[in-house]
């Protein structure tokens, strides 16, 4: 973890997650300012819009705009939910935010609740990081004890209850409406939209759901102003962003950098390529994002627009780096297996299609590919994409399409020669457990 940027700044001490540590870093000053100056909610939303903060969970939807969708005059309960169900292969940023800076999320959510008039919020934390959930519960207790959460926050007439909720590790619960179903105690399955959560969300009430990192950015936006945050990054791509760099690099980890930083610089921060090997491919935004060849990636900057122009997505900012020892068929087989296992099974194309994709890729990898398999894969992904309730069907299809598009010859070689283009001994070298020099 690099202790730079905004959210990760100052997190290199021994104990950084306590309330007094956060306050020492200037924490809760944004909330105190809002309460003391009675800043109107509209002003906060306007600052968010000015900051050009885009959702950090993957879809990149402008946060200020999302907040403005909440019906202001709705009678009765409105809810706020934080999506910390970080299950996308390659993504591990929210875990570190919650582990080392939980109060930034609490403060961000409290400000959001103030801005949207929510009386209750839930932080849905991935089930497989139970220690993080426990730490978040402790942080909530501290905040409540400090008058920063609960009834009459900081002596004002603003009240907000925030609760932690841990899932059981299903990837699909990171889909916002499946997350709501799961909080309600039901099986985590996405809902058909419309209606959208802003009108019919948790328990049928207006609900806003944001990613952990999005909420954690909010206090900084209030403190430095929307303009100041925007200027850290690029136009339409405001602020700093956490990138979880993993794979064949020397120093994998989370790096918070200004939006628009060249990929080459980010790769340098992550210690460069392991063993000085050649960069082969990069998945720039978590496993759902289309893979890009190394060469294309080296010309990109790390922001929504640049990556999108190159044919992929910034997604959650999970950068998976693959060097020349990687067999792309095997890599895809692993990814396809993930989506096959994580499809919720609700709607037909994804339930039946993800298994089909995995089995065909598995067959190719194991020397049983057939000449028309690549056409078949492209056709099946075409029948899944855009036909499902949620984006998991698309997420399962995009890796398949992009792997075939950019590394089709490697698949062809597999099918024709019943073996891998990358010799087994080279793959073996690349897969050795790596000890940092």
């Amino acid at each position: 973890m690099s202790a730079s940027g905004l959210i990760l700044a100052g997190l290199d001490g021994d104990r950084t997650w306590g309330l007094h540590d956060y306050v020492a870093r200037g924490g809760y000053s944004a909330l105190k300012k809002i309460i003391a100056e009675k800043i109107p909610p509209e002003t906060i939303i306007a600052e968010l819009k000015a900051s050009s903060l885009r959702g950090r969970g993957g879809a990149g939807f402008p946060t200020g705009l999302k907040w403005s969708f909440m019906p202001r005059s709705f009678p009765g309960a409105k809810y706020l939910a934080c999506n910390s169900d970080e299950g996308e292969p390659g993504t591990f940023k929210d875990r570190d935010i919650l582990r080392y800076n939980p109060h930034a999320v609490i403060e961000g959510m409290t400000i959001a609740a103030y801005a949207m008039g929510c009386e209750r919020g839930y932080n849905y934390i991935h089930g497989e990081i139970f220690d993080v959930y426990q730490r978040f519960e402790d942080a909530l207790e501290e905040a409540r004890a400090g008058g920063l959460l609960g009834q009459n926050i900081l002596g004002s007439d603003f009240s907000f209850d925030l609760f932690a909720h841990h899932g059981y590790g299903a990837y699909i619960c990171g889909e916002e409406t499946a997350l709501l179903e799961s909080i309600e105690g039901k099986k985590g399955q996405p809902r058909f939209k419309p209606p959208f959560p802003a009108s019919y969300g948790l328990y049928g009430k207006p609900t806003t759901i944001n990613n952990t990192e999005t909420f954690a950015s909010v206090p900084f936006i209030i403190n430095m102003g929307g303009e100041g945050f925007l200027n850290l990054g690029k136009p339409n791509n405001g602020g700093t962003k956490l990138f979880s760099v993993s794979g064949h690099v020397n120093r994998p980890g989370n790096f918070e950098v200004p939006m628009g930083m060249p990929f080459a610089e980010l790769l340098e921060m992550a210690g460069g390529m392991r063993g000085g090997r050649k960069l082969k491919a990069v998945i720039p935004g978590g496993s759902s994002a289309p893979v890009l060849p190394g060469g294309v990636m080296m010309d990109c900057t790390m922001d929504y627009d640049s990556i999108s122009k190159a044919g992929s997505m910034l997604g959650s900012g999970a950068v998976i780096v693959m060097d020349e020892t990687t067999c792309m068929v095997k890599a895809l087989e692993r990814l396809s297996y993930f989506y096959f296992e994580e499809s919720c099974g609700q709607c037909t194309p994804c339930r039946e299609g993800t298994g089909w994709l995995y089995r065909v890729v598995h067959r190719i990898e194991h020397g049983l590919g057939r000449p028309d398999d690549l056409d078949l894969l492209n056709s099946v992904t075409g029948n899944i994409m855009g036909r499902t309730i949620c984006a998991l069907g698309d997420a399962a299809s995009m890796p398949v399409q992009s792997f075939i598009k950019h590394f089709g010859s490697e698949f062809q070689y597999h099918i024709e020669n019943k073996k891998c283009l990358v010799p087994p001994e080279v793959q073996y070298q690349g897969s050795q457990i790596y000890v940092r020099p």
Binding site: C344, T348, R359, N383, R387
Partner: protein
Amino acid sequence: MLEIEIDGKQVTVEDGSTIMDAATKIGAFIPHFCYHKKLSIAASCRMCLVQVEKAPKPLPACATPVTNGMKVWTRSEQAIKAQKGVMEFLLVNHPLDCPICDQGGECQLQDLAVGYGGSQSRYEEEKRVVLNKNLGPLVSTDMTRCINCTRCVRFTTEIAGEMELGQAFRGEHAQIMPFVEKTVDSELSGNIIDLCPVGALTSKPFRFSARTWEMSRRKSISPHDSLGANLIVQVKHDVVKRVLPMENDEINECWLSDKDRFSYEGLNSDDRLTVPMLKQDGAWKQVDWQSALEFAANGLRKAAKENGPAAIGAFASGHSTVEELHLLQKLTRAIGSDNVDFRLRQSDFRADSFRQGAPWLGMPIAEVSALNRLLVIGSFLRKDAPLLAQRVRQAAKRGLHVSAINAVAEEWLLPVKNRALVAPSAIVPMLLQVVSALAAEKGVQVSEHLAMAVPSTVSDEARAIAQSLASGKKVAVWLGNFAVQYEAATEIQLLAQEIARLTDGTFGVIGESANSVGGYLAKALPIVGGLNARQMLEQPRKAYLLLNAEPDLDFADPIAAQAVLSSAPLVVALSAFKSPALLASADVLLPIAPFTETSGTFVNCEGRAQNFNAVARPLGETRPGWKVLRVLGNLLDFDGFDQNDSEAVAAEVLGAEIAPRLSACIAGMAFAYSVQHTDALERVSDVPIYAGDPLVRRAASLQKTRDARAPAVRASSVTLAALGVPSGARVRLKQGAAAAELEIVADDTVAANCVRVAAAHPATAVLGAMCGQISVERV
């Protein structure tokens, strides 16, 4: 209203409609599996994807709300490509075992695969196998065929009221299953067979016995509860193979209760009486119709001649047709006797001469959905009238507040706002309190004849019920079967009627059997001072006619019925079935047709006369009941027994308009009731759902369900503690001279100081009257 264009056709639809609604309106078919008009929208099968102008991708027609000016193409290239894509996915893991599948020929997947499937599969990998589940004796499973449309899950949750099925596991491992070690026990469970668009859920009793195209489909009417569900009876070679719902939105919608659906199994049971039988010197022998009818006619003539016509009595079951009931009373009256009754399980007939008409529901069934307050008194609603309970359940979701007063708090699987759980003897006092509280709430005077009886102090329960009813705009008060069968039925009716008056609501009786209303219209009850069902047992007659009833199971007091009938010199029984008790009581058995083998009419609880034709040839020498009674009339040389068909018989009863003859009200009757406090244990009886009539008692698969388990004695834990008997112990029950040994179990849905002992069951038929004092001692 919104204007949209579908496939080039303009259509105007209401706000909030979906594309599917609009397409249905113009008759455009959009292929679908998970969508069902009576269930919530899942939008998960994705078969109904259609092209919508300006939408970047195809949208599901079932879930996409219409917007003004929307343009939709259901058969464009984009739509067809999406639909074909989904069909391919549906088939990749489907076993394609149509030749050995019971659904073959009536399978939505098979039908749509013809239009949207490929001729050859591109899927050459291994297929998924899903283990079958035990859902009980009615529904058979082949879960590998399941396409996870979740219609069955939504049905149990939304319509049946209890989530008995769910989709467990994720992705390709997803499968529909009941809870661990549980079966689907709902009284509406058979509907999931109709709903299943593939062969995953099929009918266990019907399994492999016929193909859909081999059977004739004939309309009929259910002979069981008072709803009169519309049926399609499927027949092959004159044998009823299966019963399906005939859709009628005003009665059963597209549903059937399991009783309506599976009772056909009793039609061809070994108990069927197929040949006339005569008891000679204590031994039964088969005879021809001529001998049997002459024996019956001569016997009746002789009894009337020797002892006067009043020595003849006639009992009929309310499950008989209007034609049968009419000819039975006509025959009895032609003999000169007024002793005829079809209300065999009732014990209080004091209101008879004050009735304003045939007791009915007081409102059309379809208007239940418009109610916003309902008081149900003395009813096992869910088991006695499953589809009426279903209507109430749906209305409760839309804001209907239900209150209940009964001695048993049966789980209705719907929110009951206020419930007064009182012993049978405390129902009248409770109603008096409700009347008192209601009059106070409304600021209205209680009717004069009740004013003296109404108490000034009112319990919290009564006040809560009164407040609920007082705040209603459309109120109904219903009496259930127990209220009508109870010995203080008259007082209960008078008070219920008063509650309806005070709330400007409707007052009605749910009714026990298919012809509870029809029996009144046919005048199958004493009208000029004759004996009613109870009096005919208290004052034994010399000769009895018995129509469709079994002495041990269809009477309020089975002990008395068996004793009287078996000692009567002559009992002429018209029945579709024979049973030991019938053989012991009767002297001549005339085999008459069950509802599938005769034409006839039932008048349901909303006063709707529904006639039906025979769907199969009578079994053996069986004859339609109305013809047998007509011939008896001919043999006795009575006028008015020359009808050529059942329509002519029905016309004598139903020729005049029915509506003016319907009224649940009693007028001009004094209210004479004094509260009698008793410490004695009281018996509460329900008629178990699959024990109510001779046909359903012989339906083999229904008899294997949980609802058909042998009845235990049920009492609250408070009562058990007072008795000093542990739950699970064997006890001896005593009612007067009658006694039975049964297991007793703790059940806190039973009011204190009561024991619930089911009636109409062989195990309890030795006990006597359905209500009254009972004692319990440990064996």
